[in-house]
Symmetry: C2
Amino acid sequence: MDKQAVTIYDVARQAEVSMATVSRVVNGNPNVKPSTRKKVLGIIEKLDYRPNAVARGLASKKTTTVGVIIPDISNAFFSSLALGVDDIATMYKYNIGLANSDGNTQKELTVFNTLLAKQMDGIIFMGRRITEKIREGFSRTYIPIVLAGTIDPTGEIPSVNIDYRLASKDAVSLLVSHGNEKIAFVSSPLINPINKQRLKGYEDIFLENDHLSYSEGLIFEVNYSFEKGKELAKRVKNAGVTACYITDDELAIGLMDGLLDLGVAIPEEIEIITSNNSVLTEFARPRISSITQPLYDLGAVSMRLLTKLMNKEEVGERNVILPYSIEEKGSTKRII
Amino acid sequence: MDKQAVTIYDVARQAEVSMATVSRVVNGNPNVKPSTRKKVLGIIEKLDYRPNAVARGLASKKTTTVGVIIPDISNAFFSSLALGVDDIATMYKYNIGLANSDGNTQKELTVFNTLLAKQMDGIIFMGRRITEKIREGFSRTYIPIVLAGTIDPTGEIPSVNIDYRLASKDAVSLLVSHGNEKIAFVSSPLINPINKQRLKGYEDIFLENDHLSYSEGLIFEVNYSFEKGKELAKRVKNAGVTACYITDDELAIGLMDGLLDLGVAIPEEIEIITSNNSVLTEFARPRISSITQPLYDLGAVSMRLLTKLMNKEEVGERNVILPYSIEEKGSTKRII
DNA sequence: TTGAAAGCGCTAACAT
DNA sequence: ATGTTAGCGCTTTCAA
């Protein structure tokens, strides 16, 4: 049936050597006489033989495939990480087993289990938060797991992130330096530990600036999405804020969109700064000032870390923190 | 080493049945006495046994995973398709083996081959065009392949698309109905068969409208990307066009961005309509009018088609055409 | 440098 | 309804 019915045995027979020898040349084992190697290679070419990775996986207990669990592949933030993961995976000859979790706790667990069943050599996990269930799932296996752009409050699981708290503090600082006194903190669900960190960064500002007063009324918590941001515009406007720090780009674009629809001038009347600097911030008008996270690198470094873990190499810091910066664009005032 | 060292044999022994019986209950084979089934299930639970999918794959010659080849996972167009693919794959109990091809012909072939080596049950291919090399690769295997949002000019390979020619004709028609006479066709590389179709749609307009004259100077061909679109703005403006049809959303946003920077009023001075209606068109200001392609469905239907092919079910049309529509937003004039 | 042979964990006839 | 027994295609000792 399968056109690819050529097995290692066929090659061995035609090359008049044993399977073991064929296996050796395929795997680059040096203990093969050059002349035999050449002969085997010739037959491989002639027969168009390609090793069956499944059989290989069964025999060697390695699949050279890593699972990637992702809340939403169509989200610019996560897909940028995924690109970084894929590139490094390819570089190290790994394939990707992709699983969308919809950010659904139950589904995260399900896909994690099927990924385990498929014998992934390691797992990159992206999620909004680490639930007890998934943590328990993680603890039932020895295969390495790395969190990418995802915080485990306990710090037990290797991860790659930026310092969200410091970054949001810096972002809000910028707004403060522009003279803003009523600054909104617009956040996707605070149950997400990253958002908790960001809120702390926001609160840090009030500790250092006596003339500012913290108010519950300045905290807005909604769901992730363009639409939710848009719906929020009226409330934010009515709160009388002159600036907003926002935890998600889509949310930020939605909010800005809503504000513009309400006739609010940006940045003149309300300044906006967001968190992820995804391409979306470039596409909006005005362009949205943002914390710049190294999205691609977040994914790439996670995958690199995972390769080390899979190879049982020595790794220094298992909770990697990457640098960030603040990029001022059109949605904040340009102070001269 | 592995915490998951439990095999079907362990379960069989403890449940005091044969491996075959365990296999039967795991696979839902009805030929098992309820009481034994219950006993086996109990042991499975107790031992936390999870079937090894690799061994299964080797024995059954089915991996229940499908390969997805994608030019750029971080591109909104493709990642939306990918989401549709993933959802339907999950629904049919398939996993996804993802491979980014960078739109690179050579890499497409490489990843295709590794996907084959990993014994994917089927492949979803997204690309800008089908090269002879990849076609040859396809022809060397019997596993089903479906093109998603990708045209094979020969129509040999099963595919799911919209009627790009008709869609672009409709889009340009709208511009004509608004009184525009100099309408630009701004395209990513025309070597892409989809763009060729679109150009034909654009040309169809001139056949039906005698007062319009086709001119080479109205055709702009650049690379995919926001930046390229932006760079193009001056040339487009200088060409004196009053409207543009654009083949890619990022390109459209870039072009619009560039035009706005040049002080061009949109849609008053130049109307813009694009092709993919990705979320980006919502994020831009003004929002960009667009052909609406059912992105998610393009992926979902492709995957559904692939499941039929993998099951050797009867399929009516192997080259599926999905409906599209035109959505007028802020970048085209609203005629009352 | 090469070969023989024993699995890897499971499925799928074939028997019973 | 259940068990026996070959493999699936490869890696990997262990010998030679």
